[in-house]
Amino acid sequence: MDYTISTVAPIVLLPFFAFVINVFLAKRVPLAAVAISTLAIFGSFICAFRIFLDFQNVYAVGYHIHKVFTWFDLSAGEHLFKVNMGIYIDNMTAVMLLMVTAVATLIHVFSTWYMHDDERFARFFVYMSLFTSAMLGLVLSDNLLSMFIFWELMGFCSYSLIGFYYEKEGAGNASMKAFMTTRVGDVFFLLGILICWMIVGSTTFVDIYAAIGAGKFAGSFNVFGIALPIATVAAFSVFMGTMGKSAQFPIHVWLPDAMFGPTPCSALIHAATMVAAGVYLSLRMFPLMEAGHLLTFIAYIGAITAFGAATIALIQTDIKAVLAYSTISQLGYMVIGIGVGSYNASFMHLITHAVFKACLFLSAGSVIHSIHCQEMPQMGGLRKKLPYTFFAMLLCCFAIAGVPFFSGFVSKDRILGDALVLALENPSYWGVAILGFGGALLTAFYMFRMLFLTFFGEPRDHHIYDHAHEEHIGWNSNVPLLILSVFTLGLFYSGSFTGQGEINLFGSKNEWFSTLIHKPEASHLEHFAHYEHEDFGATDTRDKVELPKAQYDENHGMDEHHAHWVHQIHHLGAILSILIAFSGIFMAYLMYIKKSVNPGWWAETFAGWRRALQNKYYFDDLYINKIIQKGLLPFNDMLAKFDSQYYDKYVVDGTAVLNRWAFNVARWFDNNIIDSGMVDGTGASVRAVNLILRTIQSGKIQLYFIVLIVVLGSYILTLRF
Amino acid sequence: MSTLNLDVYMPVVILIVLALLVAGGSLFLGSLIRPQHPNKLKETAYECGEEPIGTAWANFNIRFYVIALIFIIFDVESALMFPVAAVFKRFNEIGLGGTLLMSIFTFVLILVAGIVYCWKKGDLDWVKSFNQVAPTQPSFGKKD
């Protein structure tokens, strides 16, 4: 495994070159552009898969590849001002690379079917290639600065793709909204980067870890006499980036609107990768969050997002809107995972969610493509027309609802279990746990509500139903869905079905996920200071044999007694989530299949809530009508009023009165002293100076030449040599 | 390396001096024996028997300048080409002819581009430029 630039760089560069080529090809030979994009991302997938296999073979926690080159170095003595660019691959990066390239490949393949009727077929792939390359670059980055560059590049792609159907009403506004809203988070993120740079002198993760370990973040900023701990400020700033990108409360409002984009782009960008990049950032900066004592805050943000988005999803009728809110909700779970210190589970949920949510979006895309409609009340009974899509979506719904043996159960249950453990230890976390479990119930309910409304029952709109295309198996229409749906099974991520090592089918070796992905814990951050890095082009000379093979640790580093207790709680949590999941599914079954419970009754009884939900808790209203219109615009008006009424009346007019008086004084002064004395004098002096300047700036070359000679002469003749 | 005796330049100087002597001598000789009866009519410039109108030192057609311009460029080019051409045979004998051939080709073809440009733009056409009327040139000149 000799990693040089030639083995790693293609992952990013292939899609990037595809982008560059396609920019020129897209207009002329669209099909070639599509082929190039898809092949490029497939090439990236091959490279990423190779890296993943290597890491699986080494199977060691501490194994990493870190290659740097100096971008610029402005250091002066002690004061470090150096920016290294480079790649950092550890187990987490390897998994992430595999996920991104695999999902992106499948989505590209799916897009060749989904988008082929579109007039801007090739342009879509241009953006997709750029986006994929940016995402992969972000994953490979070894420092915050290059991460930020790719972060913004992704933001641009997201903006372009949301506004892809710019003819559609609202698409332009939605893209603008997404761009501007995430900008709020990005500004803070940049601030966080600058703080890290200021404190550490570098933005590389490893250096930041080492600096945290060495206690460099211990000080505090003094702002107007208030001491703000540096670590907290930095962590909050970075986490704001996560909030913006991962659509966390309260700046989640852009993600539902982002569904204006084509469905494959929603699947890739707004479900699987870009929104997950925010969580990935927080995971990378986890030691900073921990050092900043920000975890409780993060956990509550995640819990509120998870539960709140789930409630909104309950009443959505647009199939993509349901999925959008479920995405926000699931991202909330990941953030809960970070907040409760469940690093591994949070990352696992990122991966599993990426897979099943991409699959869900693609299934939804498949449905939309076949019936040309997004409203669930007009669907129904599509099971017979779209059997493969139905099958894929069913598996994904099981996964997201948390049915045992599916990936969602494994990851979400571990997060909730850790939340429960923490709640028992620290009562302030009870809110998190309750909101989390409540959200899980709602998740199961609304996902199956969506499934039942779409695929079960009688067709509610026969016109649409009759015109729906019969689904046939096709390599680019539903094979990607089926491939993705296979990977919703939990055993790919965890040797056990529960994620607790309980029903251990394939031995502890298959617990690779929780074995390899290791939390950079505060207690041993110092060892990151010894992480060596190499120049690009240097081959990896470290002896892999010397690295100890990672072992699955039953106790997760805790003492036996505590671990036992934790396991107990986890079992409790697991049982609780199974119950919750099935009760959610059962409720949905009652409401939408048996129809024994009338949803209308609920709607009427909780009419106020329903209205609130329909208006998405009035967040858009708050931002647009209240903050902007009631806050900023009245403030604006107030200033205007102040200007026109008070300032004009008293200050301006008063000044006029004063001026009139002063004028009389001044006129005398002006006539007698200024005009005759100074103005004419100035004129005379200007004329005098003009004479000199005109002579100098005459446009006469010979004069310039003489001046040149004289100046050169006076310079050289005074030299001594 | 053989040395160069400056005596080889002697004939050049001698010949130049000789030319001056021949010219000066014949003129001097002539001035002794030839008649000298100048009159005004004799000393008027020939203009088909008419009185000369104005001076001949007037503006000239700019095409002459363009020709001279192309000439000087090629003159300089030949000044550079001569030594390179002189060593071409020796380079060819020691096996470096190919590289030198390439450099000669590059050098000449770049200049050929210049003459092709002038050709295309009509600078080499003597007659055509008579008929070229400037589209909208602000002209301070006479409207001849």
């Binding site: 010979q702 | 300048y65 460029i73 602000p138 301070f140």
Partner: protein, 101 residues
Amino acid sequence: MISLGAYLGISFILFICGIMVMIARKNIIAILLGIELILNASALNFAAYTKFVNGNLEGHIMALFIIITAAAESAVGLGIVIRFFQLRESIHIDDASTLQN
């Protein structure tokens, strides 16, 4: 044998004459004549140092390129003069004191 100083002296006088011409003349073409004198002075210096200091022919190459550059410079310079004359009917250097026509 004539010493280096003699050549340097000649090139010095050439240079000074060139400067004189460049400044005293008001005719653009005459100024170009002065420039030719100055360029010749420098080329002569190069060639003289080659002879008297090191004997390799770098100085000759340099002088050769000076001559070439001088030729190109006078070609373009005189072209500009002629164009200027077409516009202004003057080749007085002080008439060429504005940037616009």
